[in-house]
Each structure stands twice: as C-alpha cells, then as structure tokens.
C-alpha cells in the first residue's frame, strides 16, 4: 500500500502539504488556516505511513476508517488525499467554489472516501462509535480513527459518545485530539476551560496517550502503539501549534477561520501574507532537505 517513506521524507511531504494548503486557501479566498497547518504532520503520518488504505480503491472494505470530526480543517485532508492519489492536485484549486467536489466542509455525497460529512462540531466521536460498533458486529479488523478538535470537547454530544465507547469497550477506536488551545473566539482556556483533558478521558475509562504533534517519529510511534491497546478505546492528545510553519499565524487564534490575504491589525500586509508564508515554508523545506543529506 505505502511506499516506505523515511521520517525525513515524511517531514518533507508534510511541508509540501502545508505549502499546498496556503495555495488552496489563497485560491479559495476563504477557509481556515490555523487548524490545517497545525495538523499537517499528523495527516501526513496517517496517509503516508499509518493508515491501511488504497487510493485506487477508496471504499476497500478492509480499509481503516478516518473520520474527521472538526470538518473545518478539511483543507489539510484534501491536500493530503490529493498527494496520496485520491484525486488530481489540480482539483485543489476548486475548493469552496461552485460545482466542485471540494466542499467548504466535508461532503460524502461528493467524496465518499471522506467517510462522514461534517462541520457542526462534536458529532465525530459519536459517528466513529457507530463505525466501531458495526466493525465489531462484522468481526472486522480495521482501525477507526477519529480526528477531533479540542474546542469541540465543549459539545455535550462528544462526552455522550466518550461514555458509550468505554461501555462497549471500543478498542478498535482511536480518537486524536488536536490540542492547539485555540478556538474562534479566543484561547480555549479563556472561552471554556477544557483541562484536564487527560484526567477526564481517563475518568471516563479510556487509555490516554499524549504526543508532540509535530515530531514525526513520535507521531508514528504513538499511532502504532494506539492500535496495540486492546483493553479500552484510546485517546491521543496531540499537542500542536495552530498555524505551524508560518510565523505570524502560529499560536494566534485570529487565524482560526480566515485565509492568507486577510486584514488583521498587527499582521503583515494582506497582499504579502501568502508570499511570506510560502517563503517561510520553503526555507524550512530546504532545511529538511539539507538534513536529508546527512
């Protein structure tokens, strides 16, 4: 299924994904910047190393199911899928435009390989539980991965599902929380504190792991370890930096829901934002390539 990517090649791929996210957002003129950039490393690890999947046969029965709960970060998924061969990279320029398959938020009617339509927050874990229950009824072997945001843990529905997963011992389910500490209106701990997420999940009966969401080696080992946990459903708290790789976007909640090219006081002039972002990412890519030569 996968050509075997080295850690450095995965890092390079993640960087390419980030550059294409910037281009896609600029072309669309709307969309979310911070979350997709922050999750690029994890999506890269999934699509190019960890996931059991086949882009040539997207609905292969034994594929791992990847459910994206926080649908607004779908740019990173679209770009990763295009790089993996699900559709042509040219299609990325149609994101959010009329007659496109790349809806502003995921739509399974247009791309069934997205597994679920999503956007309204807090609904992914619940659906992932349904996937996991069906897999158990069918005695199927694949893994169900559910990507969630930290902010959507303010939705009660998320915790309804967290309870159910423990009750039914859904050990084929791994929830990954993008713990980037921001949401639209500000920092999560100011808007509605979420901590301690670890203690909450543990109290609900889950196995909890944490990882640096930008350390490729750690991401891969943590995801692989999660598959091996048999006693309980597993939650991975992924510590990420929103806007990762673009200095003026990093850790700034104002970039949650807007694309490069937006007037924000104190930020670079809007006409230059995309160029600065791409220049920074390319510079970083050269560092990765240089490291490749070691």
């Amino acid at each position: 299924m996968h050509q075997q990517y080295s850690i450095q090649n995965l890092e390079k791929k993640a960087n390419e994904i980030r550059q294409d996210i910037i281009k896609l957002l600029v072309e669309a003129g709307s969309g979310h910047s911070a979350g997709p950039l922050g999750m690029a490393d994890i999506f890269c690890a999934l699509y190019f190393r960890v996931l059991k999947h086949d882009p040539a046969n997207p609905l292969w029965e034994d594929r791992d199911r990847l459910i994206l709960s926080n649908g607004h970060i779908v740019p990173v998924r679209y770009v990763a899928m295009a790089h993996a061969g699900y559709f042509a990279k040219e299609e990325l320029s149609t994101f959010r435009k009329i007659n496109s398959n790349l809806e502003g938020h995921p739509c399974t009617k247009k791309i069934p390989a997205l597994e679920t339509s999503s956007g309204p927050l807090g609904e992914g874990v619940s659906q992932a539980c349904g996937f996991a229950l069906a897999a158990k009824m069918d005695k199927a072997n694949y893994q169900i991965w559910c990507l969630t945001s930290d902010g959507e843990h303010q939705e009660g529905m998320t915790w309804e599902a967290v309870m159910l997963a423990a009750k039914y011992r859904l050990n084929n389910l791994t929830v990954i929380i993008d713990r980037n500490n921001i949401q639209i209106d500000g920092n999560t701990e100011d808007i509605m504190p979420l901590e301690s997420l670890r203690a909450k999940y543990e109290a609900f009966g889950w196995h909890v792991m944490e990882m640096n969401g930008h350390n490729m080696r750690e991401i891969i080992s943590t995801l692989e370890e999660a598959k091996a946990i048999q006693a309980k459903p597993t939650c991975i708290i992924a510590h990420t930096i929103p806007g990762k790789g673009v200095s003026f976007m990093e850790k700034d909640y104002q970039w949650h829901g807007v694309p490069p090219g937006t007037d924000i006081p104190g930020e670079p002039p809007k006409a230059e934002q995309a160029n600065i972002a791409l220049r920074e990412l390319r510079t970083l890519a050269r560092r990765i390539e240089a490291a490749d030569l070691d």
Binding site: C107, T108, K109, E115, T116, S117, S118, G119, P120, E123, V125, S126, Q127, A128, C129, G130, F131, A132, L133, A134, A135, M137, D138, G156, M157, E160, A161, M163, L164, Y168
Partner: protein, 322 residues
C-alpha cells in the same frame, strides 16, 4: 379498491383498541429475524417505546445509548455509513426534537438510511404533559430534504410501516402513539409508501388525516352520510405527499378538511394547503393542535378538550361548512 378493513369497523365497541407503538415494536422484533443487518438503538425508554422486544430477541444487535439522544443519532449515522440499517427508537420529542441538527448533518445531508421510530407523539401522550406531547415532529422533519414521514393509522399499519421503512432509502420517520386506538385495518390491508388511501369515496368534501384520526373521519362520514358525502383519505405518508390522489379528490369535492394530532403549523394540513394553493386552490381547513401547548390529562379527556376526538372533529367540520 378493497382495503380489507375489519368487519363492523365503524362500531367502536366491535373493533379492538391497540397501541400503534405496540405495532412498531412487534414489527421491529419480527423484521429482525429476516434482516440480519438491522440494528435497533434505544435511549433509556426501551420498554415504553417498545424497543425491548427486539432487544430481548437480538441482544447482539441492540445498542443501549442511555439518556443521550444526540449520541443516539450519531451512532445511528455511523452504523448506517457502514451498511447497517439502524432503527433509533424513543419518545418523539427526544428522538427528533433534541438532536435535530445532528439528524440534519449526520443522517439527512449524507442520505444515510436510518429509521427513526417514535412513540409518544401528539396529545395522545396524555398525563406526561406538554413536555412529552410532541406536536411539532412532522413540522421539523418535513423541511429536511429527502425525509420520508410515515404516520400509520393503527396497529397493523404500524407493523407494515416498519417493514416498508426498511426497504426505503435515506432517512425515515415513523410516528408512534402511546395510547390505544381503534385497530380497523387488517393484515390484508395494502400499504404502499407515498400512496394515500381513499378509504371511503364521496363527492361533497374531502376529509384527510394521518394516524388514528383517520378512524374518526370514517365514523363521521358514516354518521353524516344522509346529508353529506365525505371522501375519507388516509394520508399515512405525509412526505412524500401523494399529490395525485389529493389533487384529484380536491378537484372532485372543491373542499378539503385536514385533521391531525399535531400542530396545525407544519403538519399534514400545511402540506395539503401548500399543494392546493399552488396547483388547485380550493378552501382548506386545518384541524389540529391550535399552535398551543396543551396540558396533562387522560388522552381521551385531552382529545375532548382540544376537539381532537370524533365529536370535536365533527363539530369543527360542520362549523366550517356552514
């Protein structure tokens, strides 16, 4: 058309009174035997909403989510994405009222085939009061693209609705009622989704209902037969509405009276009024719950006070015709 109704069905004391929710529960337990991909989900109301018969027979295909209707919806969606046919079962107010947006996003938009089976719809819910008397369920589902809405008229029709719902595509709602009502159809009575039933032909006025009120209309038609010829239609499928049957009846009679244990806003009466306003404007009367919250009480006492019993319905009809 011969609808094979019960003998002497117009005599209330001759027909059995059975619960529509029992028909739904038995229907699910029966269908589960042949449909191995059928999964039933309950939300802490499984006995009163009649999911327990399936749960006892097929524990490996029953999921108890607890008091969590949003999760009931999301888990159903996940099962449907995986090719199962989930039947989510609880009181109407909680089943579709509480998780309306998750239903819209996770089931309706992706066209997932999930069957929502309610109990406790309408004033027929009785003593629990307005919090539990769901009189807006049809209204809030009718506006969702692709939803099929079935409102069986009695116990037997409820069983048939369960079977028919399994064979449909996309989201389906079956409206269940707590109180026993006259069981006037039989196993032989046909049931086709989207096909309204002209149970009694007439020429003066079209009277149309869903659920148990169809029976009152049949009785009223009999009682008034010497002075007024009523055409009685059972609109068991509120969506998609059988436009052809309703239009052809309206063209014949020129007057249409709608009756339902549901708010007059957004229910069958609204659907019929929308249709006729556009395609064949005639006078329409919407009889039902008058955009209010009612109160606790015995179902029969509530029907009487809010004019949803046979006598009240007849009075409203005659007053309108004057």
């Amino acid at each position: 058309m011969n609808y094979h109704l019960e003998k002497n069905y117009l005599d209330e004391s001759e027909v059995a009174w059975k619960k529509i929710r029992d028909g739904l529960g038995k229907g699910m337990a029966e269908l589960g035997e042949e449909k191995k991909d059928m999964v039933v989900l309950g939300a802490d109301t499984i006995e009163s909403s009649r999911a327990h018969w399936f749960a006892e027979k097929f524990p490996e295909r029953f999921i108890q989510v607890g008091v969590a209707e949003q999760n009931l919806t999301g888990v159903s969606a996940g099962l449907a994405y995986q090719g199962k046919v989930p039947f989510a079962v609880t009181y109407a107010a909680f089943l579709v009222g509480r998780p309306w947006e998750p239903i819209r996003t996770t089931i309706c938009y992706p066209e997932n085939h999930v069957v929502f089976v309610s109990s406790h719809a309408g004033l027929a819910t009785g003593q629990d009061g307005p919090t539990h008397q769901m009189t807006e369920d049809i209204a809030i589902l009718r506006c969702l693209p692709g939803f099929t809405i079935l409102c069986p008229a009695d116990y037997e029709q409820a069983k048939k609705a369960v079977r028919a719902a399994y064979d449909l595509k996309g989201p389906v709602y079956i409206r269940g009622v707590r109180e026993a009502t006259p069981a006037f159809t039989t196993e032989q009575t046909p049931f086709e989704v989207g096909k309204a039933q002209v149970l009694r032909e007439g020429k003066d006025v079209t009277v149309i209902a869903h659920g148990f009120m169809v029976y009152w209309l049949l009785q009223i038609a009999e009682e008034l037969k010497d002075s007024l010829s009523l055409e009685v239609i059972n609109a068991h499928t509120v969506k998609p509405l059988d436009e052809k049957t309703i239009l052809s009846s309206a063209k014949k009679t020129g007057k249409v009276f709608c009756a339902e244990d549901h708010n007059i806003i957004g229910g069958l009466g609204s659907a019929v009024a929308e249709l006729l306003a556009e395609k064949h404007p005639v006078q329409v009367f919407r009889h039902g719950v008058q955009d209010i919250f009612a109160e606790s009480g015995e179902p029969k006492a509530l029907w009487k006070k809010y004019k949803l019993d046979k006598e009240g319905t007849k009075k409203e009809l005659l007053k309108w015709l004057k």
